[in-house]
């Protein structure tokens, strides 16, 4: 999964001329890298991650994902790319609280058109992989923060993505859980998955292969 961005800008609507979140960001990420994006609140980290993950569109600049210009992708192609090639991990987990751990992990498989036996088998295996064997039936509210984030990781891995995007994945966790989650990301990266992680935490950032520091919508070099 290679990512190539040049002069990315993002201007949020509002006010007279809008509010610029990205003011020209250029970087390349090669397949298999572990990149940490750091910087103070409001510097545009999350916006950048949303754009990389095709959840948002840049206002200007160029962004090629695996060599494909994302401006040429239809909405359906973006959805399919998110489903098949990208896994998201959020600070607040973003699990569906009415669904069990197993059902949450099954969702991406459902959208990929898997049948229910396939879904159950794969989701069970993924939950076992993240250490939640026996907790398949629990709903998120019955799980600890660390466990919820593991469910989220299992969900992110459902369709074997090549890119994991983690937005402050340890932001809501205690230090022990944080360590676990970080170790998982490192292990996933070792399996060849490209990981991009937004974080405040300098210690965590230090474990990444490469750091991108942001300030006021720009990269600090």
């Amino acid at each position: 999964m290679s990512i190539s961005c040049s002069e990315l800008t993002k201007i949020y609507e509002g006010g007279k001329s809008g509010w610029p979140a990205l003011r020209g960001v250029s970087f390349d990420i090669k397949m298999g890298e572990f990149v940490a994006v750091t910087g103070p609140s409001g510097c545009g980290k999350s916006t950048l991650l949303n754009i990389i993950g095709l959840l948002d569109e840049p206002s200007g600049g160029r962004y090629a994902l695996n060599g494909r210009d994302i401006f040429t992708l239809s909405d359906l192609e973006r959805s399919d790319t998110r489903r098949d090639e990208i896994g998201f991990i959020f600070q607040s987990f973003n699990l569906l609280n009415r669904l069990s751990a197993l059902e949450n992990v099954s969702l991406p498989l459902m959208y990929a058109g898997a049948d229910s036996a396939e879904m159950r088998e794969r989701a069970t295996a993924l939950l076992r992989k993240v250490g939640l064997h026996g907790k398949e039936k629990k709903i998120p509210l019955e799980l600890s923060g660390g466990e919820r984030q593991r469910v989220a990781i299992a969900r992110a891995l459902a369709n074997s993505p090549k890119l994991i995007l983690a937005d402050e994945p340890t932001g809501n966790l205690d230090s022990a859980s944080s360590k676990d989650i970080m170790q998982m990301l490192v292990d996933l990266n070792a399996e060849g998955i490209t990981v991009i992680m937004v974080t405040h935490d300098k210690e965590l950032a230090a474990r990444a292969g490469r750091n991108l520091r942001m300030r006021d919508g720009r990269l600090e070099q």
Binding site: L55, S79, R82, R83, P108, Y111, A112
Partner: protein, 430 residues
């Protein structure tokens, strides 16, 4: 297909998870269903009644009666107007042979009927066998008057036995009590089997050769001509003339020309006949009942349209209810939409999810409403004395279908709103 199944599963989960909201949506659409089924069955009943009435009364009807409102320029001009006699009826029959029915009626009032120790007033109507051809809403015991009776002026009669008033009809009961409709003659016929017996009418003995039992109200279409004649004792018109019951009074003449196509032509012929026989002057009213019947049918159709539009409005209200609920759902679940989009749901998936959920609300509401509509239409209405609605098995099916379609139509906009949310924006929602 698979995504549809998944959407159904998700929808059921959501409906179950929000029981109050779902119940309210069911009720909104169910209310529509109830009104719709009621309206539909009412329309169907009207349609069936009209068809039956057409069959029973015929369409191409004419009624000839004496014109009582002659105008004279001065009292000296007054000459007794001509009357329609039985000879005239026979002549018309002969001159205009194609008509399906030519039925004269001559009524006498305040006749005294005696049977055993019973003595009561009634009203005798002189008719011919033609009388049975139209507006015949009876079952006959014994036999009806035949031409032999008429030609020989026999003193035979047929008595009419009234049907019991519709059950549970409070209004009718009180009316009956107040006006004592069931008293006297009706009671006598109801309680004694007079077939074959001899009764005495105004001093003349008549043999009862037949009893006409009115069909029960539920099976009677009513007469489309709007005739509200009360028939009690029917006897040959010639007999009543001969024994001076109706003497030289003018007969009424009910005609069925037999064909709507040549109706105007028939009316012209009838007018011509009257003119030749009685001369100029509006001595008789030739009532074009086809026009009246058509007006009645048109009025029925109009009221049916009003009723069905009420049913449709009810569905519209239900649909708006569903739209409101679905929109509220979309806003309440914006974050969820963002999550689903992030993990790969396409716009189509999101749209399908909300539409399927709404359609299921509509379907379940429709089924509920059909059940309630049936309960309202049959047992409850009967209990209230309104008479059950003739609900056909396909009406609830149509109603459920329309409920689902309404839900579908009204879910499109909210679902489109949901599908149009940008994933990043949706994820930021609280």
């Amino acid at each position: 297909m698979k995504s549809l199944l998944n959407a159904v599963r998700t929808g059921l989960t959501e409906i179950w998870a929000h029981k109050t909201r779902s119940a309210l949506s069911f009720l909104a659409i169910a209310a529509g269903s109830v009104v719709f089924i009621d309206a539909f069955s009412a329309i169907f009943a009207t349609y069936e009644r009209i068809e039956k009435q057409k069959e029973v009364s015929g369409m191409a009807r004419v009624k000839i009666s004496q014109n009582y409102s002659q105008t004279y320029s001065s009292p000296d001009d007054y000459v007794p107007p001509p009357v329609l006699k039985y000879d005239d009826v026979l002549s018309l029959r002969e001159k205009l042979p194609g008509f399906y029915m030519v039925s004269p009626e001559g009524r006498d009032w305040r006749n005294v009927l005696e049977y055993g120790e019973h003595r009561l007033t009634t009203s005798v109507m002189g008719v011919t066998p033609e009388w049975t051809k139209r507006d015949f809403i009876y079952t006959l015991k014994g036999r009806f008057l035949d031409w032999h009776d008429v030609e020989n002026k026999l003193r035979v009669c047929v008595l009419v036995k009234k049907a019991a008033p519709p059950p549970g009809n409070l209004f009718n009961k009180s009316m009956l009590k107040k006006y004592n409709f069931t008293g006297g003659f009706d009671m006598l016929v109801a309680h004694y089997d007079l077939l074959g017996k001899t009764v005495n009418i105004d001093g003349f003995t008549f043999t009862v050769i037949g009893i006409l039992e009115e069909l029960p109200y539920s099976k009677r279409p009513g007469t489309i001509t709007g005739s509200s004649q009360e028939y009690k004792v029917l006897a040959p018109v010639t007999t009543l003339i001969h024994y001076n019951f109706i003497g030289q009074q003018s007969l009424d003449l009910n005609i069925d020309t037999g064909s709507e196509q040549n109706f105007d032509e028939s009316i012209r012929k009838i007018n011509n006949f009257l003119k030749i026989r009685f001369g100029d002057g509006d001595f008789f009213i030739v009532e074009n009942q086809l026009e009246v019947i058509r007006e009645r049918i048109a009025a029925s159709i109009k009221s049916a349209l009003v009723t069905i539009s009420l049913g449709m409005l009810a569905f519209l209200a239900g649909g708006i209810g569903i739209m409101n609920v679905t929109l509220a759902t979309v806003f309440a679940r914006t974050r969820e939409i963002g999550i689903r989009r992030a993990i790969g749901a396409s716009r189509r998936d999101i749209m399908l999810q909300f539409i399927v959920e709404a359609v299921m609300l509509g379907l379940i509401g429709g089924v509920l409403g059909s059940a309630l509509g049936y309960l309202w239409g049959v047992p409850v209405k009967v209990m209230l004395g309104m008479g059950g609605s003739p609900i056909k098995p396909w009406m609830p099916l149509v109603s459920v279908l329309i409920a689902a379609l309404t839900a579908f139509a009204f879910a499109i906009y909210p679902a489109w709103v949901a599908a149009g949310l940008k994933p990043a924006d949706a994820l930021r929602a609280e």
